[in-house]
Symmetry: C2
Subunit: 195 residues, 2 copies
Amino acid sequence: MFMYQLLRDNIEQHVHLSDAEFSHFATSFETKEIEKKQFLLREGEICRFEGFVTKGIFSVYHLDKNGDKQILYFAHENWWVTNIDSFTNNLPSQLFIEALEDSEVLLISKSDKESAYINLPKIEKLFRVMTQKTHVALQRRMIDSLSKTADQRYIDFIEKYPQLYQRLSNLQIAAYLGVSHEFLSKIRRKIAGQK
Amino acid sequence: MFMYQLLRDNIEQHVHLSDAEFSHFATSFETKEIEKKQFLLREGEICRFEGFVTKGIFSVYHLDKNGDKQILYFAHENWWVTNIDSFTNNLPSQLFIEALEDSEVLLISKSDKESAYINLPKIEKLFRVMTQKTHVALQRRMIDSLSKTADQRYIDFIEKYPQLYQRLSNLQIAAYLGVSHEFLSKIRRKIAGQK
DNA sequence: CATTATTATTGAACTTGTTCAATTTTTTTG
DNA sequence: CAAAAAAATTGAACAAGTTCAATAATAATG
């Protein structure tokens, strides 16, 4: 099936699995469809899965006490999505994971993931390498957030994620950049005027 | 030796090693002393180590084109320090690692670390778990950086790292919080006035 | 301990970003 | 396709944070 091929290609970027190994690992996943505006995970729930997005986009965000949303990341096709804190430590999630389009994910449970670690050490390596990459990306974003102005972060975002930019509302992008959507609107006007 | 006991206790928080396993792993480390204001790693160099701090404090930071410093984290006794991006991908470092006091680290090279992964799978687990924890902490910091005001981030910092706060200058703390040190000074005045 | 460096404070003018409220535009849905 | 809902724009008043330049306080060093 197409979505399993996507998963295989994704894994192949980090470690090589034989047909048999992949087939076995792939049976650990179940498919789930989530409609737009529905949740894969809500605040307070314990995250019992790690997901691989095969269709659509999810946003992973925090809601602060003022009701403002801070988006940690977007996960579209070919990305992994979970609340790693809740998942690994069995803690109530402080994050929401919401579908921004009608979406589809392959989900693996914690116990299946742990079995895979044991049966297939390459899987442990896979997740270690993925976590490292994600961490490096977040370090870069943290530095940008400390040093760059919102204008520049917006320009960088468009350049880095042109396909994502097309599919997201400015409300979403503003919540990712950490500015009000009104201010993002003014940034857009300013940039448009410069061209 | 005292510093190896520190290392062992640190590892023990995540995985258990027998005396023999630990002794073997410990031989991979070499001790290095770094004087205050000297560098463990400079921008442009490839990071060939992962370090465990046994004495002193390091700051891991980026210098932007304006010459402003953004501090990613501080590593004091009992913390690990490296540039994970440069280390894992053999890329020139975009970060500096500088000793803020006369310091001492135990260093392990990439090849020794990789041997350990192979000889002792618990070590792979150790680093996977540590990276996950670090990642979760950075996610929380990212959310705070998107949602909280500098006053609140400063108050949080003092509360979270009271011992670190005592040993750092306000210049360092400002570069960590992402504000000018002048503004931090005004925050401090405001907070002092409230008490 | 006297001198020099670095760090911290302060004020004033300025820039960046927020909030609120109103209006327009676009998208969704019956 | 009409109506309703959601998203985007705009302006005005405000708050948060920067920059620059001067001064004071602390720490480092011969």
